[in-house]
């Protein structure tokens, strides 16, 4: 199978993730969109590593997983703190800061 198919899949997943971030209103779902973008990137890394016959891309993917895990910890902490305050995780409800 042609390796560039994986790259197309990675780009499609990345776009779906970005669209989710822009269109969905629930902070958790927005956050899932970001995770999807990171994992799409991982797929691109691993595919490029296969194309180049080089391990750097696979190592990058591991680093990205660790960073994504750290990001989940921080992100959920922030979202839960807001949810406990407002009983809502909608990004539309957080609108006190306006010019």
């Amino acid at each position: 199978m042609n390796l560039s198919n994986y790259l197309v899949l990675a780009a499609v997943l990345f776009t779906i993730g970005a669209t989710t971030v822009l269109l969905r209103r629930n902070a958790i779902v927005v956050f899932m969109g970001i995770e999807l973008m990171l994992n799409a990137t991982n797929l691109a890394f691993v595919t490029f590593a296969r194309i180049h016959g080089d391990l750097t891309g696979q190592v990058m993917a591991f680093f990205v997983m660790v960073v994504a895990a750290a990001e989940v910890v921080i992100g959920l902490a922030i979202i839960v703190a807001i949810f406990r305050t407002r009983r809502s995780a909608s990004v539309d409800d957080v609108n006190l800061l306006k010019s």
């Binding site: 190592v59 990058m60 680093f63 922030i78 990004v91 010019s99």
Partner: protein
């Protein structure tokens, strides 16, 4: 047969500035776990101040060697300790030290800028209990140190993996810190969430750009990518898309238009000492990385990427300045002013000359000192509850509350006026020297029109800085019966930080040549 393991050679001396800060952060976490509650703040503060001071000393010790040799590639190319990287590490450590003074400061009643327990629901009984017991969230110090460590790696990163990890190491603690304000906690939590979601979104773009560049060059090392631009043919789209996505991630961090929308909200909602820290230090670190990428990777793409950067520089200067004029909140005004400054620094970056590098380094130092000082002053000016003996509460951030401040607290108001004049670029302040340096670098780089736009915009910017100064000194306070705004008395750390800012701003304005000469020596990036 498996090859014998060869231990990598790690030149610890060159990593010392970063290592000191990160190790101190780890020690800080251990202190949280093992030291008794009442001692923690003193221990944490001592560790943090010693670590940042130690990092400044380590940078100074490395300086002569790097100036003579031009720099060293360490850790197999992951980090590059050259002139600009070392200068920025020194500046970051110094400004980190000054920020820590503001962060550590408490009012006379022992209240710092942070929630007694960041996990407590705002307005709950538990929060009230934590406040009465005098709890303090001393985790702030290790978090600041981790963020500072990431920032110090950022301008020295020689490959995109290190750059990405450093980006996250500096961002994640800042997301948390912006949600920990003692007062106006809803705003603070909201700022934290916006910063987190948008920051993670931007770093995903950064990462995808990294993946595309890796696909293009087969390596994530900046030097290899730069070399591949001339050898690999037929994949220009991959290279261009990669560089642009990478720049989106970095320009987000400096708050350049059109990636600036988070800046005013986060700067307004975050605890003021943290706002000062991230306004100064994040921007410095991110510009360090932008410098390296623009000067090492971009030159073969000059005619594809530079026009975009020119447009972003112009937009950033104009939007930052125009929107700052209509702000009524002092923190938002400073936020838009910092956006405008990002535009001025970009003018120096796009010059693509060696004086461009040194002018950017100087501008960042001048801007950082004034910014931390200005936010330190904002953190001292507070509202007073109505009625006799009213309690001092949150910061008086509405511009109208600052009217007449100069008559009641002349020294403080004069310091703020000095910082504003420096932002505006009035001669004999650091800001003037910085603006002069970046604009002359742009002229030297053949971008006279960009320098002219910059001069026009900074002339317009004088208007809103002058408006605040007039308000402080020549307007009577609104509702004269019973003061509604006061300057809170503190333990004195903030005063020291403001004094350092004032001295630095004046010195860099009156006697800039020693520093400029020093930076001219340092303005050589090695790939």
């Amino acid at each position: 047969m498996t090859p014998a393991f060869v231990a990598p050679e790690i030149p610890w001396a060159h990593l010392l500035p970063v290592a000191i800060v990160l190790v101190a952060g780890v020690v800080g976490v251990l202190v949280e776990a093992f030291a008794p509650q009442r001692l923690r703040r003193a221990i944490q503060l001592t560790i943090a101040l010693l670590a940042t001071a130690g990092a400044v000393v380590a940078v100074a010790a490395l300086w002569a060697g790097v100036r003579d040799t031009g720099g060293t590639v360490v850790l197999g190319g992951s980090m590059i300790i050259d002139g600009p990287a070392l200068v920025l590490q020194g500046v970051l450590a110094l400004l980190g030290l000054v920020s820590l003074l503001v962060i550590a400061d408490r009012t006379e009643s022992g209240e710092d800028a942070f929630a007694p327990s960041a996990s407590a629901v705002p307005g709950s009984d538990y929060e009230e209990l934590a406040r009465r017991k005098g709890l303090a969230q001393t985790e702030v110090f290790p978090l600041v140190l981790f963020a500072l460590g990431g920032m110090m790696i950022f301008p020295a990163a020689g490959d995109l993996l290190t750059l990405f990890v450093a980006l996250e190491v500096l961002s994640l603690p800042l997301y948390l810190l912006s949600g920990m304000a003692r007062r106006r906690r809803l705003l603070s939590q909201e700022a934290s969430m916006k910063y987190f979601l948008l920051g993670a979104f931007a770093s995903a773009f950064f990462l995808f750009g990294t993946a595309l560049l890796y696909g293009f060059a087969g390596s994530v090392r900046l030097a290899d990518i730069a070399a591949a631009t001339s050898t690999v043919v037929g994949m220009d789209a991959l290279l261009l898309a990669g560089v642009l996505l990478l720049m989106v991630g970095l320009l987000f961090k400096v708050g350049a238009v059109p990636f600036h929308s988070w800046t005013p909200d986060v700067y307004q909602g975050a605890p003021t000492p943290i706002t000062g820290f991230m306004a100064a230090c994040t921007k410095i670190a991110a510009f360090g990385a932008i410098l390296r990428i623009v000067y090492v990777v971009v030159p073969p793409l000059e005619w594809d990427v530079m026009p975009l950067l020119w447009a972003i520089a112009v937009l950033t200067m104009v939007v930052g300045t125009v929107v700052a004029i209509v702000q009524t909140d002092i923190k938002r005004m400073l936020a838009y002013s910092s956006i405008a400054h990002a535009g001025f620094v970009l003018v120096g970056v796009v010059a693509l000359t060696s004086s461009g590098i040194s002018s950017v380094l100087f501008y960042l130092l001048a801007y950082g000192l004034s910014t931390i000082g200005a936010f330190a002053i904002v953190s001292l000016v507070r509202e007073v509850n109505a009625g006799p003996g009213g309690a001092v509460v949150a910061e008086a951030t509405h511009v109208s509350q600052w009217s007449g401040l100069g008559q009641r607290h002349p020294v403080l108001a004069a310091s703020f006026a000095l910082f504003l004049l420096s932002f505006a670029g009035i001669p004999l302040t650091a800001g003037f020297t910085g603006k002069f340096a970046v604009f002359s670098a742009a002229v030297e780089g053949g971008l006279t029109w960009l320098a002219v736009v910059g001069v026009v915009v900074s002339a317009a910017a004088v208007f809103f800085y002058a408006r605040i100064i007039v308000l402080m000194f020549f307007t009577d306070p609104a509702g004269t019966a019973g003061e509604t705004t006061t300057v809170v008395r503190s333990e004195g750390f903030t005063t020291v930080a403001i004094a350092l800012g004032v001295i630095g701003t004046i010195l860099l304005g009156v006697l800039p040549s020693p520093v400029l000469d020093l930076l001219a020596d340092a303005a050589k990036l090695i790939p």
